[in-house]
């Protein structure tokens, strides 16, 4: 079984508990205007020219973003940091893009980790069919479930898709008693305001089951470079990153409602 992976990052410390390896699968059904991994949206591998300076001379080489990899190849890398997962209560996180866009590949990866006794987390936007969730659920120890906006119209405007399916899937996972961390990107012009966040909080309160944790992810500019590199339009050009202090009001909305909430992953 093969799939398209665009990066594997070891010593990931913001993608779930403990020390983790994050495997980024390529392709995403959403197209959020603030996306910090814009090269991950398209499922196909992309090639870019990169330059390296050695002394005063420049050398160009072609970088392939997105590599076709076998399950075994991915697992071979993931397994290397097993001792760190064991020591820290970490594991592997599948992220993207949207990992559920390659469901069969993802299932094989999760299953292989599960057999190795490696803790698995899935970082997902939740925009998928319930049948796919049913397929992978058993092998997923933790869902890092993105929730972006309560208003479906605004959601569609800014991400390209409405949110009904997403909320339905979230409810489903909660009903199935899966472990869930909600991840809320806090984005200027989109949901960086109290009202939207209060609505979001109310929705989360109304859901069945237990939300272990809420992570607020303040908008950062680390992706800006990528827009330049891949020649893509950056709608966030010039927007400064949000600080911990900027989101403190939002933090307290959730905190006061009794949620276990943190800023950053």
């Amino acid at each position: 079984m093969k799939g398209i992976v665009f990066d594997i990052k070891r010593f990931a410390v913001h993608d779930g508990p403990g020390i983790r390896t994050t495997v980024f699968l390529k392709g995403c059904p959403l197209s959020c205007y603030w996306c910090h991994n814009p090269e991950s949206i398209d499922k196909k591998p992309v090639q870019t020219e990169r330059k390296v300076k050695v002394e005063s001379e420049f050398f160009t080489y072609t970088e392939q973003v997105g590599n076709i990899m076998y399950v075994d190849e991915v697992i071979d890398i993931v397994k290397r940091d097993k001792i760190f997962y064991e020591e820290s209560g970490g594991g592997v996180t599948f992220s993207g893009g949207e990992p559920l866009i390659q469901p069969a590949f993802l299932k094989q990866l999760l299953k292989a980790c599960w057999h190795e006794g490696i803790h698995t987390a899935l970082d997902t936007c939740g925009y998928t069919q319930q049948e796919i969730l049913e397929e992978i659920m058993h092998f997923t120890d933790l869902f890092l479930f993105d929730l972006k906006h309560i208003d479906s119209h605004k959601h569609k405007q800014s991400t390209g898709v409405p949110n009904e399916i997403i909320i339905k899937n979230l409810k489903y996972l909660l009903q199935m008693k899966k472990r869930i961390h909600i991840r809320i990107p806090v984005i200027p012009w989109f949901n960086f305001n109290e009202n939207d966040m209060i609505e979001m909080m109310k929705l989360l309160q109304s859901l069945p089951g237990n939300i272990e944790k809420i992570d607020l992810l303040p908008y950062h500019t680390l992706g800006n470079n990528k827009y330049k590199r891949f020649g893509m339009t950056n709608y966030m050009e010039g927007v400064t990153a949000l600080s911990k202090e900027d989101v403190s009001l939002i933090f307290h909305i959730f905190k006061n409602a009794g949620f276990n909430v943190s800023i950053g992953g």
Binding site: G18, I19, V54, E55, E57, R80, E87, S88, G90
Partner: protein, 787 residues
């Protein structure tokens, strides 16, 4: 911090390093006097020691709590002409060099010109050593294949155990007398030698008691003229302490600290041993005194902290004795490598972390001084909270404390044949060197330039920078048909140079044994008294000689390049590679790019490169390990550079990993600067592929930018990272926490960063005191970490 400590700390930081001719002058006076005639070497040395302690000036700073200075005042640094004579030119260099300079005043120059240089010329140990070395040794030394630790300083590399906290010098004199009474001139051919050694030890023990008495008298005198009632009573108390210790065993924390300090001064006035001297497992030694004082109600925690901080400042007042030439380059720093150990295991194998461990961490954090250095020993039995506390200090970015694996240290010591309890009493000293504290004389003998030996191998025994044949003729590299053939040639060259080095080491050890015994240090280290043998002659229970490998990353990546490109992929011919190295890559930009970017590199958990690391490790290990020294012990390896990777780089041509000529080598077992691109877990996995337990210490540097430490969870993850490395038997890991931006600004505006301390390699130093090349290197590795 009390106002007293604040003042003493300021004074210590602002005191200017200067050279003092006092010791050299007293020593010369003694050697020229009739008292020096007709004595055996140990007694001569003991009498010289006695003479110095009897006549050297005393210093009692305003409001000091712990007294005693090596020189006439803080940071006034003596010289040791019996070891190495500083020429007028050397003094000029010391005076005028930009980094690690010492003020040398007119009077000192005059004393040197008129008295010191004329008398000692022809008598110094350095001259003896250089005369005894073979041409092969001189050639290898001049080409920078290895350095020689003992050419400007004496073998030290030892740490005080727990005996001084249980016994006074009078007890030791009694032990010595017992051994003398027991001597058997009928059956023991060594009896005379033993008696001379024991007599010498006895003289030095008496000399230290007398030295303390001189302080007691001066303190008493000062107390009579003191108007401030509080200070008056302090001075009286201090006088009473100096009357009691070191003659008798200490009973209070204050006595224990003052006792150690007198002992410390004794060791560093007797000679200028490497790594100064070191109280070692300080939390273990001091905790019983602290507890007892508290229980008796004679000390509060606050008072204890003040005493400990006063003690800390004493270390900072004592820069390393001035070094010149190659020795200055291999270890160019004011730091004298005292390394306080905290944590680890007790003799019975249980968790040794106690309240004193945490108090001392507070002291380290509050003092933020260059010296003493500090480290935590982490066993699987120590609690995480201990590591977390230490990381909170590490994250403030002054490079202390570093983190060591107790369980690995104990195994390393036991593999070398030490007793379990002796091993548990051990730790690390200097940079990362494993030692059995109080029982072992473990001499570091010199750094070995592994990339340079590969360079010589690729040039059939010729040092291309000198155009001289200094190695074996192992064949033209162009004719090697396989990687195995190259590796075998490399093995032969390593063995050849190691043998030259060991031959030199054994001569030098004998020279020290004959001419410069250290009777005072011998009192402190078991079993010198019992054996009637000197510390430098095998008197210690354990006697090890180390050769320190440098440039592991550079040599690994170079071999990986050659194997990958020349022999496996065959996309670069040996001839082309050698031409490129010879040209320092001028006109070979594309080839250098391939070497830098399209070649497996150590530090990425990639076996293709990491297997080269274990190959080099095995070659080095087998060349050295187990070869006898002159003291009944063996040669062993460790892997640490101090600042030698910069010096070694500066005399090594371009290397096959893409490194330009004269650029610093990699340090310790850290990957080549910038070559590790898969993060710290990959670095740790790579570094753990060598068997650390076969060494006497390895040094791994990991760089983090300050923002990594922003939250508790990150600190906890770092603790887990350390635990993982130690589970893989890693010996030591240290963290540099500064942003490249800060460092660049510091380079531009050194005046703004007078207190900026950074981790160099196995120790911390003021950024301003580092050479420009080392500053740039640290900026480079910091930049890399923030990508």
């Amino acid at each position: 911090m009390t106002s007293r400590i604040k003042k003493l700390r300021e004074q210590s930081i602002n005191a200017i390093n200067r050279l003092s001719a006092e010791r050299a002058l007293l020593l010369t006076e003694f050697y020229q006097s009739s008292h020096a005639l007709g004595l055996s070497a140990p007694v001569l040395r003991a009498k010289a020691f006695e003479y110095i302690l009897m006549h050297k000036s005393l210093y009692i700073g305003e409001d000091e709590l712990i007294v005693g200075e090596r020189g006439p005042e803080p940071k006034a640094t003596p010289t040791y002409p019996e070891i190495c004579i500083h020429s007028l030119n050397d003094l000029e260099i010391l005076r005028t060099r930009k980094k690690v300079s010492f003020i040398v005043d007119e009077e000192t120059l005059k004393i040197y010109a008129e008295k010191i240089i004329p008398f000692w010329t022809g008598r110094s140990n350095r001259e003896r050593i250089m005369k005894a070395m073979s041409d092969e040794w001189i050639n290898a030394y001049s080409s920078g294949i290895f350095t020689e630790f003992q050419e400007q300083r004496a073998p030290g590399h030892t740490v005080c155990g727990d005996k001084i906290y249980k016994k006074g010098m009078l007890d030791f004199i009694e032990e010595i007398d017992t051994e003398i009474a027991r001597l058997d001139y009928i059956n023991d051919p060594e009896a005379y030698n033993k008696e001379e050694q024991l007599k010498a030890m006895k003289i030095t023990a008496g000399a230290l008691i007398h030295f303390a008495q001189r302080y007691a008298e001066k303190l008493e005198y000062l107390s009579t003229t003191e108007n401030n009632a509080k200070r008056k009573s302090e001075l009286q108390k201090m006088a009473a302490i100096c009357k009691k210790v070191p003659a008798y065993a200490p009973e209070t924390l204050h006595e224990a600290l003052q006792y150690y300090w007198f002992v410390h001064l004794g060791v560093i006035l007797e000679l200028n041993p490497w790594d100064s001297f070191n109280p070692g497992r300080l939390d273990q030694h001091l905790f019983p005194f602290y507890k007892n004082d508290l229980e008796k109600g004679i000390l509060t925690k606050e008072e204890a902290i003040e005493l400990l901080e006063a003690f800390w400042i004493k270390f900072n007042n004592h820069p390393a004795p001035p070094k010149v030439g190659v020795t200055a380059q291999e270890s160019n720093t004011y730091t004298d490598f005292c390394l306080i150990n905290l944590g680890g295991l007790k003799d019975d194998g249980s968790d040794a972390v106690n309240e004193m461990s945490y108090i001392l961490l507070d002291v380290i954090e509050e003092m933020r001084l260059l010296q003493p250095g500090s480290m935590i020993q982490v066993s699987k039995k120590n609690p995480d909270s201990f590591i977390n506390r230490a990381i909170r200090i590490i994250k403030t970015g002054f490079g202390q404390p570093s983190v060591f694996n107790s369980d690995a240290i104990i195994q390393e010591l036991m593999i070398q044949g030490k007793d379990l309890i002796d091993a548990r009493k051990g730790g690390a000293s200097g940079c990362v060197e494993t030692g059995a504290f109080g029982t072992e004389a473990y001499f570091l003998t010199g750094y070995l330039n592994l990339p340079k030996i590969l360079e010589i191998t690729l040039n059939n025994g010729i040092d291309p920078l000198k155009g001289k044949q200094i190695g074996l003729t192992t064949g033209d590299a162009n004719n090697f048909t396989s990687y195995a053939e190259l590796l075998n040639a490399f093995r032969l060259q390593i063995n050849y140079f190691i043998n030259i080095k060991i031959e030199g080491n054994n001569k030098i050890e004998s020279i020290f044994s004959h001419y410069l015994p250290v009777p005072f240090l011998s009192i402190l280290i078991e079993d010198c008294i019992k054996k009637g043998k000197n510390y430098v002659s095998g008197g210690a229970r354990y006697n090890t000689s180390y050769i320190q490998g440098v440039g592991m990353g550079t040599v690994t990546d170079s071999l990986a390049s050659i194997k990958w490109h020349v022999f496996d992929k065959k996309d670069i011919s040996m001839k082309m590679l050698l031409d490129a190295l010879k040209a320092d890559f001028e006109g070979y930009g594309q080839l250098r790019y391939e070497l830098l970017y399209n070649t497996p590199k150590y530090g990425n958990d990639n076996d293709e490169a990491d297997n080269r690391l274990t190959e080099v490790f095995d070659l080095f290990y087998h060349a050295v390990n187990g070869k006898p020294n002159t003291r009944g012990g063996h040669h062993r390896i460790n892997l640490l550079p101090t600042t030698c990777h910069v010096y070694f780089g500066s005399i090594t041509g371009a290397s096959a990993d893409g490194r330009k000529a004269r650029v610093p080598l990699s340090e310790g077992i850290s990957p080549v600067q910038g070559a590790d691109i898969n993060g710290p877990t990959a670095v740790i996995k790579s570094a753990a592929k060598i068997d650390h337990l076969k060494t006497g210490g390895t040094l791994l540097n990991q760089k983090f930018t300050p923002d990594f430490f922003n939250d508790d969870e990150a600190i906890n993850k770092l603790t887990r990272l350390i635990r993982s490395y130690f589970r893989l038997d890693g010996h030591h890991i240290q963290f540099n926490v500064v942003s490249a931006e800060t460092l660049r600004d510091a380079k531009k505006h050194p005046e703004k960063y007078r207190d900026l301390i950074v981790r160099v390699a196995g120790y911390s130093d003021y950024f301003n005191d580092l050479g420009e090349d080392l500053q740039d290197e640290i900026i480079r590795r910091t930049e890399h970490s923030s990508l």
